[in-house]
Every structure is written in C-alpha cells, then in structure tokens.
Symmetry: C2
Subunit: 154 residues, 2 copies
C-alpha cells in the first residue's frame, strides 16, 4: 500500500526534490536503505553549508550505528543524482550544500576567517572569462577562493 500522497486533493505539485528519491534510486537499480533515509532526513533540515563531519554527527544522533564510510558513500551517490553538491573549504575539508539553492561560489578571507558567497552576477564574470578565453566550463560551486576581504587589507 504505497502512500499515494500525490493524489491528495490539497497537495501541491511542488514536491520537495527529496520526495521521489526512493523512486529515482529504484529506477537505477539502487536501493532505499535505512542509512540513506537517515541521511536524507538530516539533509532536509540543512541549509547553507555543512561539512561532512557535521552531517555524520547529525546522522549519529538519529542512528547511533552510523558509520562514516557509509555516509560518505551515500553523499557521493546523492551528488551523482544532483541533490547535493560538495566542494572544498579553504583548508581542503569537504563542504556540502543542498542543491535547490542557487549555485554559487565561496570566498574565504584569510584575514578574518569569514566566508562570503559570490553573488551570481559576480560569479558569472568569472565563469564567462574562463569560458571565453579557454573554453573551460567552470563549476564555481566546488571551490572556495581565498584572499582578503575589503575590511582586511593589510
């Protein structure tokens, strides 16, 4: 007896992108496991950036038997499905963010340690420059660019 929620009269068609994951996994011969369910519950309530270890910690709160390698592998999978994106912070650690947000880049100030988001317009300049001059299709969301913010110049 599948939960045919989509038939509910007042249910909006704007389902969260998470809602049909089970089906999407199935469609590819993949499985809907409790571990993945846990991770997705955690991801649903995330916003902004999260490090992998934060995610692992949150999963452990819900399921004490969570193991890191499983989470990492599940995240890889979700990334392939386009549901999350991972990048590296200024120190090389992994950071994830949920996709529904606008794709954006990050700026890290080595002076004050603040992380800034690169607005789409600004990002576009960078993407366009590399595209025009090298034919390179940049994935801005993957990196954190370092430097000094306006308030931290020498």
């Amino acid at each position: 007896m599948p939960p045919e929620q989509k038939a509910g009269a007042t249910v909006r068609p704007a389902v969260s992108p998470w809602d049909d994951i089970a089906e999407r996994l199935h469609a590819n011969g993949l499985r809907w496991t409790p571990q993945r369910r846990t991770l997705i519950e955690v991801l649903k309530e995330q916003q902004g950036h999260v490090t992998a270890s934060e995610l692992i910690a949150s999963c452990k709160e819900r399921d004490r038997t969570t193991t890191p390698s499983t989470v990492y592998r599940a995240l890889d999978l979700l990334e392939e499905l386009g549901l999350v994106r991972h990048g590296h912070g200024h120190d090389g650690r992994e950071e994830y963010h949920v996709l529904p947000d606008q794709v954006h880049g990050h700026l890290y100030c080595v002076g004050c340690g603040t992380t800034w988001e690169i607005r789409p317009e600004t990002g576009a300049v960078i993407v366009d420059a590399l595209a025009a001059q090298l034919g390179f299709d940049v994935d801005l969301s993957h990196v954190t660019i370092s430097g000094r913010c306006a308030g931290c110049h020498d």
Copy 2:
C-alpha cells in the same frame, strides 16, 4: 672561512632566493637545521607543482629519518617567508609550488583529470572582477577551480 661568494668578480647579484635563507632565518631568531636544509635542497630542484607527500618522499630519499610533521612545519615556515606557496588541489590535497614563478591559478578538468594553468591575463579578469565588485583581494594561487575543459564538454 665563510664562502663569500658575493665578492667573486664574475658572480651575478641575481642570487637564487634560496641562498640567503639561513640569514633570513637568523634575522628572525629562527634556526638553520639539517632538516630544513634537506627540504630546501629538495625544493631547489622542483619545478611546477608538488604535493606535500611527494616532498616528504624526496626528503626521505636524502635523509631516511625525515618525519612528516617536521616537513609540514618547515613548509609553513617557508611559506611565511614567501618562498613557497601552497594551495589545495581539486581533491583537497595540498600542493606546493616555488614562488619565483609567476603567480597563477589552476583549473582542474573533472572530465579528463588534467590540470591547466590560468594565464595571468585570464587570472587578472577574475581578480579584478572580485576586487571591483566586492573589494576582495583574491589569492588565485591558493585554489584549483574545477570544471570541464573545452575537450570534455558533455
């Protein structure tokens, strides 16, 4: 009998930036140790990018007693002195390059795995864009930007 090379008639004033390290260390109350000497010998013959573990391996070839933590600390020090620069590759691992080279950024193609250098002119566009729009002073050499090169578009 100090090697007063600078007095040699035909010796150029263009000494390698490595030559006066011992003095520069001294000037800051730091010490000229065999471990640092080993690392610098290794660095001297490097060109392009090197990962920290490659450097450690090379140091071990010269001195089997080399310890990783010492190399990492020495590299930090040399970076403060402006002799090397470190950044993070697409996978977050550390990469070093010797400074005398033009400061440049890196591009990593997730399609073919190639790393490309961002030419200064191209880099300037990026740096200028962030400077103009956000007052942010970018250190392009620290990051590897990911994406797809011209030959690897879907």
